[in-house]
């Protein structure tokens, strides 16, 4: 796609990189960790998407059915992509990903239904952006369905700005700062 995208002048963040342990609003201990290709972790992620409610699908993803889920994950868990998983009780309950797109990265996030509304999404995106900062990512964009106000509000709170709304979906963009010295 050849759309020109406007990124904010001011960088957002800095964001704390994973691993991070947080307590969600339901009192559950959630561990946020970068995924680096471990096969057991990948199976746990497949399990999350197999259990995922199709009502929360966004623009066709995640797909339904295990074989489609696996081939979709092959693409977004590739080496050049950045992924952070949210864990609770040995299971994956959330997943955020940055997929390269020319000089930028496309972001998406999914949280299992039983874990929504507990603040995990915000923490998970921030951890992913911290991971991205650490890996030298500068520009991040995403699309969200216009009517999904809860998601739009979350992205705005983190620092995303709307940069295109010519279609059913809204396009939002964010700039990351250079990785801080740690």
């Amino acid at each position: 796609m050849t759309r020109d995208r406007r990124y904010p002048d001011e960088p957002a963040g800095p964001f704390e990189p994973p691993p991070i342990t947080v307590e969600d609003r339901e009192g559950r201990e959630i561990e946020l960790r970068a995924h680096r290709g471990d096969p057991d972790e990948r199976e746990a992620l497949v399990d999350m998407y197999v259990a995922f409610d199709p009502a929360d699908r966004a623009q066709g993803i995640p797909p339904s059915g295990e074989s489609r889920i696996r081939s979709w994950l092959d693409a977004i868990l590739a080496e050049e992509c950045l992924n952070v998983l949210a864990w609770h009780d040995e299971g994956v309950v959330g997943h955020a990903t940055l997929v390269p797109d020319r000089d930028a990265y496309e972001l998406a996030i999914f949280v299992l239904q039983a874990y929504q509304g507990a603040g995990i999404g915000t923490q998970l995106i921030q951890a992913l952006l911290g991971h991205g900062e650490r890996e030298g990512v500068e520009k991040v964009w995403l699309t969200v369905e216009r009517w999904n106000r809860r998601a739009v509000g979350l992205y705005e709170k983190i620092g995303f700005e709307t940069c295109g709304s010519e279609s059913f979906e809204l396009e939002m963009a964010l700039r990351l700062a250079d990785a801080p010295e740690r």
Partner: protein, 122 residues
């Protein structure tokens, strides 16, 4: 039944042509392929026409190919109504690197404005 397929040259519109050609072979519908200027496409009209004719020839399909100038959504809707087409078919949307389906401006305009059935081919 008369079917109008808009092809602007994006990958999803080319895929829609292949699937629609297979569909009319089964159903016997009369197919008109309208080549339009899609702002989201990197291919020019001549390149698009070349691809369209090749796909039609490969399938040995009988279809009319037309160039439709001007705003693609508006002109497709107008053409469908003035020439009594029963359905407008378009590409099903491009995919982002993540795999998200992205509906273009032409598809959105046609969906909201056409009085015929509209198909997004997937």
């Amino acid at each position: 039944m008369k079917l109008l397929l808009g092809v602007g040259g994006t990958d999803d519109s080319i895929e829609a042509l292949r699937k629609t050609v297979a569909r009319v072979e089964r159903t016997g519908h009369a197919l008109t392929v309208a080549i339009v200027d899609d702002p989201g496409s990197d291919r020019d009209r001549d390149a698009v026409e070349g691809i369209v004719r090749e796909i039609l020839a490969e399938a040995d399909a009988d279809a009319e190919v037309r160039h439709v100038e001007g705003d693609p959504g508006a002109r497709l809707v107008e053409l469908a109504e003035s020439e009594a087409f029963d359905e407008i078919a378009l590409g099903g949307g491009e995919k982002s690197p993540m795999g998200k389906i992205r509906i273009g401006t032409v598809q959105e305009f046609v969906l909201l404005n056409a009085h015929t059935t509209v198909s997004l081919v997937r």
